[in-house]
């Protein structure tokens, strides 16, 4: 490990212990931000996707409007509105909400969560809609009610269909999180920007951070492949 760091510093002279520490703290912030927003986003997206497939327009239209707005605007703009916009509301500084919105972490978390929830809702909705009619008819023939059908038939089979699209969403979210640095949050990109402006060494600062992002991406890809192998076991040929 020490040898590895020594070799790294030869390639990237700007990686002093202080800079490495900043990168590390940035990585912790990025992972926290992405992980939390993905978890909360997924928890929100499942019920929203079910509502989105409802026939009653009073139920499905608001969900449609929400996903339309958040998929139709850039995440950067959403973050700006939530971070800078909220601070401009008169009197907000005197309310309880200011303790949440004062620091950049929660506005960023809110923007990322709402954004990923919108995309995930649409991914899951597509998977639910694609449920073969025969499976539902069979479930009905067994006398399952709506709730049981959802829980035992529709959602598990939708999860299998959604997993590949969702793994892309997760990786996109990791990369999109780079914009958190525009609201003063020192995430991985923020750490790279600080290193860049301290040493005027754009290649070193940004190539190193690109390697870190790539490492995180590989971990995600690996984890999702395991998950896919598990969920899609039935699709494998008996010999393979």
């Amino acid at each position: 490990m020490e040898q590895w760091i020594a070799g790294l510093q030869e390639q990237f002279p700007i990686l002093t212990p202080a800079t490495l520490m900043q990168y590390w703290e940035g990585m912790v912030t990025t992972v926290q931000l992405v992980f939390l927003s993905l978890i909360i986003g997924l928890v929100l997206a499942v019920p929203l996707a079910i509502l989105r497939t409802a026939r009653n327009p009073l139920v499905c239209t608001p969900v449609w409007a929400y996903t339309y707005v958040f998929r139709g605007t850039p995440l950067l703009i959403q973050l700006y509105i939530i971070y800078y916009g909220v601070a401009q509301i008169p009197g907000i500084q005197e309310t309880f909400w200011w303790t949440v919105f004062r620091e950049p972490f929660y506005p960023a978390l809110l923007a990322f969560t709402l954004n990923t929830a919108a995309y995930t809702t649409e991914i899951i909705r597509g998977a639910i809609v694609a449920t073969p009619a025969g499976e539902i008819e069979a479930a009905k023939a067994y006398g399952m009610d709506w709730w049981l059908r959802m829980r035992r038939i529709v959602l598990p089979s939708a999860a299998r269909r959604a997993i590949q699209a969702y793994s892309n969403e997760v990786i996109f979210m990791l990369h999109a999180s780079a914009i958190a640095s525009v609201v003063t949050l020192v995430d991985l990109t923020g750490a790279a920007r600080n290193a860049y402006s301290n040493y005027y060494a754009p290649f070193q600062a940004f190539i190193f951070v690109a390697l870190l992002y790539m490492m995180l991406t590989f971990i995600l890809v690996f984890a999702f492949r395991k998950l896919e192998n598990h969920l899609l076991k039935h699709q494998k040929s008996a010999t393979g």
Binding site: Y84, Q88, Q93, V182, T184, S197
Partner: protein, 251 residues
């Protein structure tokens, strides 16, 4: 024959060199406008500003015939090297990176960093104990950033911004207690609004701004340095400065 040609071309080159070094009777000086109050055009199209007037005084001192050239910022150093003009007097800060390619005169001004805050801020920015736990905004990578990081790192919480606009928004929104920014920028974007004030004495930082020339024109640099020194001493400099600034930028 070959030796003769080489000898002749050497002689020519030396002659040309001596003509260059002898006298600078014509100097072309480049400005990037508008950058108020340093260089800009008045409504009737006349080029003026602190650096323009200083350049005029300097040319008078050098008894040189000066031509003023307008050049956009990103073409400044390439234009100088391509001999489109001989000197740049357009608020170019002296940095080691630039000094590798071009020759700087002695610095002739330096804008200080200024402390700005909302009217209700009453802490002494030089008192480290009182500043403990405060949030300070700076522009990333500026000399102000370096100053705060070195002097107050670990005492205050530092937030770094890419643009001054974002920083001013967060000062308004009360996310920041105080900002430390290039004084003219703060004066224009913060002090021009109601409810804000200067929160401490301006601090002089960095190596200042110098006249930029080609590396080979050492003779021109000597003449310009001598002229600037004279102007700084005989009061001409102060007279021009006081016309444009309420604070001291002399260096």
């Amino acid at each position: 024959m070959k030796t003769l040609i080489i000898a002749a071309s050497f002689a020519l080159a030396m002659m040309a060199g001596s003509v260059q070094a002898k006298e600078w009777k014509e100097i072309r000086i480049a400005f990037d406008i508008p950058y108020e109050p340093f260089e800009y055009k008045t409504p009737d199209g006349e080029l003026t500003g602190f650096e323009v007037e200083l350049a005029e005084a300097m040319c008078k001192e050098l008894k040189a015939d000066c031509e003023f050239v307008i050049q956009a910022w990103d073409g400044m150093i390439p234009g100088l090297l391509a001999r489109k003009f001989d000197a740049i007097m357009s608020s170019m800060s002296i940095t080691p990176e630039r000094a590798e390619r071009i020759l700087f005169s002695e610095p002739y001004y330096n804008t200080p960093g200024g402390w700005f805050a909302r009217d209700d801020f009453n802490t002494d920015v030089t008192d480290m104990e009182a500043m403990e736990g405060k949030t300070v905004g700076v522009q990333r990578g500026t000399t102000m950033d370096t100053y705060v990081t070195q002097k107050m790192g670990g005492i205050v919480s530092i937030k770094r911004y890419t643009t001054a606009d974002d920083m001013v928004l967060d000062l308004e929104g009360q996310r920041l207690d105080v900002v430390f920014v290039d004084y003219p920028v703060g004066e224009q974007t913060i002090l021009s609004k109601d409810g804000f004030k200067e929160a401490g004495e301006p601090v002089k930082l960095g190596q200042g701004v110098g006249v930029a020339m080609r590396k080979r024109d050492k003779e021109l640099a000597n003449q310009i340095n001598a002229a600037l020194r004279k102007l700084k001493k005989d009061g001409t400099y102060d007279e021009i400065m006081n016309k444009y600034f309420k604070y001291d930028i002399k260096m």
